[in-house]
Symmetry: C2
Subunit: 139 residues, 2 copies
């Protein structure tokens, strides 16, 4: 069966484009800069289920994305995580943290309901992320 983005990810995130391996998705929550990488491979729940080549491509893309996001948003710390307890399709979170942010120093999951971007905010964050997407090889 071909890869299809999990409906929950489709509902909660916004497409930023496609890297060589992944769907690149913005979490629709303005509270933190938050981008997900979803490898376009069917039936993958865990990083270790990917081929070795895909695992290496994932870390390559994750590092390019994470490095760029930290520069763009002047972050204090990056959080990178594959959890998937509720949505079992493999998705790698990249969240820029600032000391004193809403969840600091704890993790962001479950702290409060997502606060969606307005159209104007979304256009702005897309623009800000452009260098990151270029580094990631998104067309």
């Amino acid at each position: 069966m071909a890869f299809e983005l999990h409906p929950r990810l489709a509902a909660d995130t916004i497409s930023l484009g496609c890297s060589p391996l992944c769907e690149v998705r913005l979490m629709n929550d303005r509270t933190w800069p938050w981008v997900l990488l979803v490898p376009r491979r069917p039936d993958i729940r865990e990083i270790h289920e990917l081929s070795e080549g895909d695992q290496q491509q994932l870390v390559r893309e994750s590092s390019a994305l994470g490095r760029s996001m930290m520069e763009i948003f002047a972050g204090d710390k990056l959080n990178v995580a594959a959890l998937g307890n509720m949505v079992p399709q493999l998705h790698l979170h990249h969240i820029v943290r600032h000391e004193g942010d809403l969840a600091w120093p704890g993790p962001v999951w479950g702290v409060q309901p997502a606060v969606p971007y307005t159209d104007e905010e979304l256009a702005g964050v897309r623009r800000r992320l452009e260098p990151a997407l270029r580094m990631l090889g998104v067309n």
Copy 2:
């Protein structure tokens, strides 16, 4: 300056040995099967600060560890994360989750204080983890 394990990691975790890249540490919390990989490289806070070769070795070791842990503990889901908001030395968490476990479906961080292993439990979990450590190249 040479690599030195962060004092907080030294205090909260138990040594399981050394893989080619990492210190392999058991979180001293019997609530979940929980192992950390800490790359033996000084002054690294983020995965993307590692060399490309080290990033690829990290994902190789992480996948070997995670796959083994899921088999040993018959897990429903693996959580893999580099957070580091409180302890900035790069450490990659690997936690085996079961549906209905104490924090399910949320993440484990901050749910309750760590419950240390008894000596007997520790000996038992070390034995259970032996196949994982072998896959990881721990001597």
